[in-house]
Assembly symmetry: C2
Amino acid sequence: MACPLCTPKNEKVIKSNNLFRVILVDEIPGFVRIILNKHIAEFSDLSLDEYTEVMKEVYRIEKIIRETIKPDKINVASLGNYVPHLHIHIIPRYKDDMWFPDSIWSETHRSYKYETTNEQLNELIKRIKEEK
Amino acid sequence: MACPLCTPKNEKVIKSNNLFRVILVDEIPGFVRIILNKHIAEFSDLSLDEYTEVMKEVYRIEKIIRETIKPDKINVASLGNYVPHLHIHIIPRYKDDMWFPDSIWSETHRSYKYETTNEQLNELIKRIKEEK
């Protein structure tokens, strides 16, 4: 089966470079995913320099999410069990969101209405696009 | 309530330095956790230099787990919803483990017997202790 991250469809790409692309994930407002361009499964399939570049972007995006969306918590995870093509989730969490305090891969506890505004999301996108 | 990672009990510490400690987690053979010494919640509460040092250790440990334990997949995650004191899980996963292909925070699908040997675990510990 073709890898869905090698042949992406309908991704909301915020920025991209030779190494990775950064996309906005609709599931949660302000949920950002970094997807490596190369079809590799693990961080240590990258050179240390490439890894450091990707992880700096995680740090930068986490900071931008905190400053624009102001969630209660950030979750960062790279699992890839379903799709073993390296990608990193950067997820804004709220103390009364559907899964909290559990992971977004856990059972839901309640319903939740996100209050993130379009202004906040536009600011987040604008800042992620800006070069460091 | 006192933070359980500020006053740890019965941790199997493999190594520690000024910034973090590295522990072995009993739940899964070869499951390693990095715990920051400072009580901070998010990666971006670290300076970029501190963050880069921690993430280099994640890379190094992931590589060591792959080379010694040889799992089918590695999961790396920093959630902290229950305990908002920065820590990073580096988790060996197997295609027929209890949760696969779901996260270890998801419902289990089956039982599973890990075949990791003491020799493999001792090699993993030895190599994590070695300075880079």
